[in-house]
C-alpha cells in the first residue's frame, strides 16, 4: 500500500508540468476513479482544505490522501513520491544551469521567454480575482496587498497575517451587529 501511494504520486509529480492546480484533475483521476481510494465528495472536501492551508498544493494533496489511506507513514510515502521527480530534474539542471546560462544562444532564448513568464503570472491575477468574486472590497484588498509587497517591500508574511487577523475581527463585528439586530 505504501508502495502504491508512492507510485501514484511519483507519476503525478513527474508528469504535471507547471504545477499547482494543473495537477488536481490528474490526482482525481488516479485516486478517485482508477484506484477508488476515496469518494468524489471526499476528494472535493480535501481539495477545499488543501487550498485553505498554506504550502505547495501537490504536497498538501499527497499528505491528505496518504494520511487518509495509511496514517502518517502513508502521508510520508505519498509526499516522497510527489517531490522525487521534480527534485531530481531540478537538481540536474542546477548542476549545469550556471555553466550554460552565459551561452549567447541561451541568453537570447531567455530574453524571449522572460516576458512570456511575466504574462503567464499576470493572467492568474485576473482569473483568481474572478474566481473569488470580484467585489470592490476584494479588489481593494488585493490592490493594497500588491502595493505593500511590491512598492513598500513589506514581507508577504505580514500581509497574510494582517489579512487573517482582519478577517477574524470582521467576523466578530459581524456577529455583534447580528446580535444587536436580534435584540
Amino acid at each position: 500500500m505504501y508502495w502504491q501511494l508512492f507510485l501514484v504520486f511519483l507519476r503525478i509529480g513527474a508528469f504535471t508540468i507547471g504545477g499547482g492546480l494543473a495537477m488536481l484533475p490528474l490526482i482525481e483521476r488516479d485516486v478517485v476513479f482508477k484506484k477508488n481510494w476515496i469518494t468524489k465528495d471526499d476528494f472535493t472536501d480535501l481539495v477545499a482544505v488543501t487550498q485553505m492551508l498554506p504550502g505547495v498544493i501537490a504536497v498538501n494533496m499527497a499528505v491528505a490522501v496518504g494520511y487518509r489511506m495509511k496514517g502518517v507513514w502513508g502521508a510520508l510515502s505519498a509526499v516522497f513520491g510527489a517531490i522525487l521527480a521534480p527534485f531530481c530534474s531540478i537538481l540536474l539542471l542546477a548542476v549545469f544551469f550556471r555553466t550554460f546560462r552565459d551561452n549567447p544562444v541561451v541568453v537570447q532564448l531567455f530574453t524571449g521567454m522572460r516576458p512570456v513568464m511575466v504574462a503567464l503570472i499576470a493572467v492568474p491575477v485576473i482569473t483568481t480575482l474572478r474566481a473569488i468574486g470580484p467585489t470592490l472590497v476584494s479588489g481593494l484588498i488585493a490592490l493594497v496587498a500588491a502595493i505593500l509587497i511590491w512598492l513598500l517591500g513589506v514581507s508577504p508574511v505580514w500581509v497574510i497575517l494582517a489579512a487573517g487577523l482582519g478577517g477574524y475581527l470582521w467576523h466578530l463585528l459581524d456577529k455583534r451587529r447580528k446580535g444587536e439586530m436580534k435584540k
Partner: protein, 174 residues
C-alpha cells in the same frame, strides 16, 4: 549558518504560502533575492521560466534550485530546502485531517479566509510587478512578446509550455 538560514527561510515559505504556485513567487523572491541575495532577480526569473517546463510544483523547483546554488553546489542544501518547504504542509495537513475538517464551515474560519483570498490575488500581482523590470524587459520587443503571450494565455488558453517555446524562438530571431 547557511543551512539554518535555508531551513528557516523555506519552512517560513511553506508556512505562509496560501494559494500555492504563483502566489508563492513573491514570497520566495522576497526572501532569496531581496533579503539574502542568494541569486539575482534575472536568475530568479529564469528559474521560474525553467520550472514551467520541468515537472513538479514551482515551490519545490525553486527550493531545490536555491538550496543547491546558495550552498555553493551542495546536494544537501537542496534536500534541506525542499524538506523544509514541505514540513509545514505535512504537519498542518495531518493536524487538519484530524481536527479542523469539522470547523471548516465555522463562521470565524470562513471570515479569516474571506480576507486571505483577495490577498492571494495581491501576492500574484506583486510577483508579476516585481518581474516587470528592465532585466526582463530589454526593449519594446519585450513588451510586444508580453502582450502577445498575455492575450494568448488569457483569451485563447494557449498552453504555457507552447507559449514559452514560442517566446524562446522569438528571442533567437531577435
Amino acid at each position: 549558518m547557511i543551512w539554518l538560514q535555508l531551513f528557516y527561510t523555506f519552512f517560513k515559505i511553506g508556512l505562509f504560502c496560501f494559494g500555492g504556485g504563483y502566489a508563492m513567487l513573491s514570497l520566495i523572491r522576497n526572501e532569496v533575492v531581496d533579503r539574502f541575495g542568494w541569486m539575482t532577480g534575472a536568475e530568479f526569473t529564469d528559474i521560474v521560466a525553467v520550472s514551467q517546463m520541468t515537472p513538479g510544483p514551482i515551490g519545490i523547483n525553486a527550493a531545490t534550485y536555491v538550496g543547491y546554488t546558495a550552498t555553493g553546489g551542495h546536494v544537501l542544501g537542496s534536500v534541506i530546502a525542499t524538506v523544509s518547504l514541505c514540513a509545514p504542509s505535512v504537519i498542518l495537513m495531518i493536524l487538519v485531517s484530524r481536527f479542523l475538517m469539522r470547523y471548516r464551515q465555522h463562521p470565524a474560519v470562513q471570515g479569516i479566509f474571506r480576507a486571505i483570498r483577495p490577498v492571494v490575488v495581491g501576492l500574484i500581482a506583486a510577483a508579476a510587478l516585481m518581474m516587470a523590470r528592465p532585466e526582463n524587459f530589454v526593449d519594446y520587443r519585450s513588451y510586444l512578446i508580453f502582450s502577445v503571450a498575455f492575450v494568448g494565455a488569457y483569451f485563447f488558453r494557449v498552453h504555457p509550455i507552447l507559449l514559452m517555446i514560442l517566446g524562446g524562438l522569438t528571442g533567437l530571431l531577435m
